[in-house]
């Protein structure tokens, strides 16, 4: 009994920080309709700034609790100011851009802040040196319970009460609630939205900063905090209902309790448990506990999509020629070049598989790396536990990915837009956490080594041929499916679900089919990659890897069949040749993404198409 009470209290304490972060995210989303990836970065900055500011205050005059509280508040406000600045400089310009680009832009900010934090605070974890009053315990039911955690339990409800007052009793709050429903009408009534949006961003970022600040005494500040928390925050926001602060509170309580008890009951699978809870909630209430259907659902990639155009014949010939040159590479190029070509083949398939669901299907996944990683781990785990040879491992890889694709896709394809993006990302995070946490089974951070191909394919040239045959073959197969009846049906469901249903298509089943096919493709790519590298690591499943896939597809253009191929080649070459040479490549990549979105808010493909049409005089006079 006592143990249950203690776990329950621990859950309540953890719920507070989770609620602060999720409420900030949900408030920002409610008004601006932007899903702010950088919210996790604000949380991380909150922890780091608290570390710096509190220590400075303590050095200046004694280690008083009051100074600690002042440090927390100052750090939170500083984070709020940073958030407001980012809103003014960046987000304000892209409120009308498609959701996908907004998400990418905020991810660019994530990358930039990661490198800034590394430059300022260094790579080490930074614990706050705790004075005695921060280390004190209280006796509860015969057990020792940290006094600080006891205080934290009240922070969540207190902030909920403050937010309630702000939203119900102040003009700012009334305007925010009105804008959540109908921004344009609020503007037509004379309210300057820019001030409102910046204010909301300040508020949301402050909450995230405060969340990071209050966890510092029990954790350290560290560089992976941002992406670790953002997936959890997404889960809480989705479970609570997008835009609902009380929903976020309930969901934070629920998820934190699941985690608190899960850690005791199934210590290696807390995230799986969290996922199950989320799945159950979404099955019963598709829009979360207190959420409502979104009024203006938009296609994630922009306006009505044109028909996907087949590549011009010349591009086909160029591709065939490039393939021949690549296949001949072992005869004239060095081993490094051959290795690079194998990777290129892998990434072409990886990008093509994401494109398959994004382009014709309109299903934008923010967690496609999950299936890539599942493929890689499928091959590696098969070898480790079942001693399957490469020939079987290559088959196992896509099958494992496809099986998970079927399960995750079952939930994902029922949703669209932001919910879909958040859910796919959360799924990927779960797979990542399993690979990372379940050390006995997956080797955790050390990965699995010694995943080598069979004897006949061990020579680099032979493996290149195998990789080309599998990856390019699968890519061509995907292309065939786009122009097969299934592809047409898929596009019909993308353009109008209702109309597709009216002509007898089962939209959900078709979308699920696309999801599974894409997972199969990514899984095969992952399997080929695993044998090429001889090892697998959790980084194969990380969020940045998913974003890489998105960038490849976007670079090439979503609505062209050759797009992902061109995009993968361009991205990978760029990455290998240019970015890796720089120490601060994350900052550079993030900055490039932000600039790209600012320069082409409709996407590069959209921009090119517009230019093309204008050049041909299609634009109305």
């Amino acid at each position: 009994m006592d143990f249950i009470l203690i776990q329950f209290l621990t859950g309540l304490a953890n719920a507070s920080a989770l609620f602060l972060i999720a409420s900030g995210l949900t408030v920002i989303f409610g008004v601006t309709r932007i899903v702010n990836f950088a919210h996790g970065s604000f949380y991380m900055l909150g922890a780091y700034l608290t570390w710096t500011i509190t220590r400075a205050l303590w050095d200046w005059s004694g280690r008083e609790p009051a100074l600690f509280i002042a440090g927390i508040l100052l750090a939170a406000l500083a984070v709020g100011a940073i958030g407001a600045l980012i809103e003014i400089v960046l987000l304000r310009r892209i409120y009308r851009a498609p959701e996908l680009f907004q998400l990418l832009a905020t991810f660019g900010v994530v990358l930039m802040i990661q490198d800034i934090a590394l430059a300022v605070w260094g790579p080490e974890d930074l614990p706050l040196p705790r004075p005695p009053w921060l280390r004190r315990f209280v006796e509860i039911a015969g057990s020792r319970f940290p006094q600080y955690d006891l205080i934290l339990i009240f922070v969540g409800p207190a902030v909920l009460a403050l937010l309630w007052f702000l939203f119900q009793r102040t003009r700012f709050g009334v305007l925010v609630r009105a804008a959540t429903q109908d921004r344009e009408m609020v503007a037509a009534l004379g309210v300057d939205q820019r001030v409102l949006f910046t204010g909301v961003f300040f508020l949301g970022s402050t909450l995230a900063g405060l969340g990071g600040a209050i966890v510092l005494p029990s954790q350290s500040a560290f560089l992976q905090m941002d992406l670790a928390i953002i997936a959890e925050a997404f889960v809480v926001v989705v479970v609570g209902g997008l835009g609902s602060v009380p929903g976020a509170f309930l969901a934070a309580l629920l998820i934190a309790q699941v985690q608190a008890f899960g850690i005791v009951l199934v210590p290696k699978a807390t995230l799986v448990l969290v996922f199950l809870v989320m799945a159950i909630v979404l099955m019963i209430r598709p829009y979360g506990l207190l959420g409502r259907p979104q009024a203006h659902a938009r296609a994630a990639t922009g306006a009505v999509e044109p028909v996907i155009r087949p590549a011009p014949a010349i591009l086909g010939w160029a591709g065939a020629a490039a393939l021949l040159v690549a296949a001949a590479a072992p005869f004239f190029a060095g081993p490094y070049m051959v290795t690079v070509l194998v990777e290129l083949a892998v990434f072409v398939l990886f990008a093509a598989s994401l494109h398959f669901m994004m382009g014709p299907g309109g299903i934008v996944s923010f967690g496609h790396a999950a299936y890539f990683g599942l493929g890689a781990y499928g091959a590696a785990l098969g070898l480790r536990y079942l001693a399957v040879p490469m020939e079987a491992g290559i088959v196992l890889a896509p099958l494992l990915a496809g099986a998970f694709g079927l399960v995750f896709g079952w939930f994902a394809v029922r949703l669209s837009g932001v919910y879909l993006a958040m859910l796919t990302l959360a799924f990927a995070q779960i797979v990542w956490a399993a690979a990372f946490q379940w050390v006995e089974f997956t080797g955790g951070d050390n990965g699995i080594l010694g995943v080598w191909p069979s004897e006949w394919a061990r020579e680099k040239g032979a493996y290149l041929w195998l990789a080309l045959a599998l990856c390019i073959g699968a890519t061509l197969l995907l292309r065939r499916i786009i122009y097969a009846p299934f592809g047409y049906a898929l596009r019909a469901t993308r353009d109008s679900e209702l109309r597709a249903e009216a002509i007898g298509l089962n939209a959900v089943r078709i979308r699920l089919g696309a999801f599974v096919i894409a997972a199969l493709g990514a899984g095969l790519a992952g399997g080929v990659y695993a044998y090429a590298k001889g090892s697998v690591f959790p980084t194969y499943i990380s969020i940045p890897k998913s974003i890489d896939a998105l960038l490849m597809v976007l670079l090439g253009g979503v609505q062209t069949v050759s797009g992902p191929v061109v995009g993968a080649l361009a991205f990978h070459t760029l990455f290998l040749t240019v970015l890796q040479a720089f120490t601060w490549w994350r900052f550079i990549l993030g900055f490039a993404i932000v600039l790209l979105v600012l320069a082409f808010p409709q996407g590069i493909a959209g921009f090119v198409r517009q230019r093309w049409e204008r050049a041909r005089g299609l634009e109305a006079a």
């Binding site: 429903q181 503007a187 009534l189 004379g190």
Partner: protein
């Protein structure tokens, strides 16, 4: 007060308004008449900045050029807008809806307060704390006008205020518009209902396919059955 010249507007590539011109004098009630899809709502949205006026358009309000300005800036100059689909904030109470509309008092005009508005719209007084989503269509229509008046506009654009209302409510609406006029405001309203227009308006402009076909007083319009037959569905 309001002078619109060569107003052109597009939805995508569709050319909706073609060189619309309107002159509205201080204190008068002008009615835009036209059939469904004639371009009445688009004209109002373009004046308000909710639809971008094409380059070359001119909208001048109380001496200030406002074509191309953002909606909030136009509203702050004293232009009120009541959309045809009402767009009440359904989660907000009546009082909160009014609060969203509130702007600073304007020189030379008696500032609107909820009390003053309740005198014109007595129905609202009884439901101050009711969420907008739980009001009847007529009550919502009253609220949306009251909400706009809270901004102390000099001129209000009223898009089809009588649409879909029961005869009793239409009667109240006509009285309300006369009260607004009596308070010194200028009104531009759009209508398909000629009888309603005749009860409240001084002058009319007839729009068809985005082109202003006729302007004149309502008395003059009464004398031209041919015009009525051609452009209006009487």
């Amino acid at each position: 007060m309001l002078s619109v010249r060569q107003l052109n507007a597009f939805y995508g590539r569709a050319h909706i308004l073609r060189d619309v011109a309107l002159e509205v004098a201080r204190g008068e009630v002008l009615v835009l008449l036209g059939r469904n899809g004639a371009g009445k709502s688009t004209t109002m949205k373009a004046i308000m900045g909710l639809v971008r006026p094409a380059p070359g358009s001119s909208v001048s309000f109380a001496g200030t050029e406002i074509a191309g300005s953002p909606p909030y800036a136009i509203a702050r100059l004293g232009l009120g807008y009541v959309p045809e689909d009402r767009r009440i904030f359904t989660d907000l109470t009546v009082m909160e809806n009014l609060e969203v509309g509130r702007q600073k008092p304007r020189d030379g005009l008696d500032p609107w307060t909820p009390q003053r508005l309740f005198a014109i719209f007595p129905n609202l007084a009884a439901m101050k704390d009711r969420p907008g989503g739980r009001m009847s269509g007529g009550e919502q229509q009253m609220l949306t006008i009251a909400r706009t008046l809270m901004g102390n506009p000099r001129l209000v654009l009223l898009d089809e205020p009588s649409e879909g209302l029961a005869p009793v409510i239409v009667q109240q609406m006509a009285e309300a518009i006369r009260a607004v006029k009596a308070a010194g405001l200028t009104v531009v309203l759009s209508e398909q209902n000629l009888h309603f227009a005749e009860r409240v308006a001084d002058r009319a402009a007839i729009i068809e396919k985005g082109i202003v076909r006729w302007t004149g007083t309502l008395d003059a319009l009464r004398a031209e059955p041919a015009i009525k037959a051609q452009y209006l569905s009487v």
